[in-house]
């Protein structure tokens, strides 16, 4: 049997890789994909706890996370398409219109 801590370690590793992608890469598409990786690591943790504690709620929250992620990706890519129309760059360092 697989101990729970191995699933949690896998989730932590995926999360670290996702954070590395967000912080190190400058391509906005890859930053978005790394966000997907981080959300997936959270889902792995939720489902693992749900399975090992025999509790439904982890799976239900994971379903909500997946739904919200779909909405987030649709909005983010819509913003990206609108942005590319005004300023043809994919580099997040160049996207400083709002001076954030």
């Amino acid at each position: 049997m697989v101990p729970l801590s191995m699933y949690l370690a896998l989730g932590a590793a995926l999360f670290i890789i996702g954070v590395a992608g967000v912080l190190l890469r400058r391509n906005v598409l890859i930053v978005l994909m790394s966000l997907e990786l981080m959300l997936n690591s959270v889902n792995v943790n939720l489902v693992a706890f749900s399975s090992y504690l025999s509790d439904f709620r982890g799976q239900i929250i994971a379903i909500f996370v997946i739904a919200i992620t779909a909405a987030e990706v649709a909005i983010a890519l819509g913003i990206l398409v609108a942005l590319m129309r005004n300023k043809a760059t994919l580099d997040v360092d160049d996207i400083t219109i709002m001076k954030g």
């Binding site: 049997m1 697989v2 101990p3 990786l37 439904f56 239900i60 379903i63 609108a82």
Partner: protein, 180 residues
Amino acid sequence: MLAREPERWQYWGGANSVEFGFFIFFAAVTIISALVVVIARSPVHSALALMVCLVQVAALFILLGSPFLAAIQIFVYVGAVMVLFLFVIMMLDVREAARVRFLRGGTFPTLAVLVLLGAEMLVLLLNSKRFPVSTAGGTGTLKELSTTLFTDYLFPFEVASVILLVALVGAIVLARSEAD
């Protein structure tokens, strides 16, 4: 921590089942494809690697006894989200972005933060004594899951559907050209 060492190794000794082998295989492919997502130069390669990673996570969900969530993962992530990504990559001109180097200068603080975060998570995971040691038995049938979802969690479910509607309208408004 040293006193707990033997029982942890007991896990490894008794973990020669088929399930453990599948877990190691899926976990290894997940980690490798996730690394490819971050390292690959071309966004198309990243998207394909991310697709592999998401399929492996769906397989892990099946190992954890929740096949419904695995199906949702395949439908929503691989079927919808990744197609959206590939569609946008196809629309945008990514040839210039593909030449950008992976690591630029001045990444030392970032790497330090990453190592710190990873070490913290590892220490917390290995030192915690409160994890349930029972086996992964799944959580019951799909009928029970859906009953819980549509009774106790009905309001969040409706809110999620409204959020999806807002996202649909918002994406259309944002991506529409000004001329219309």
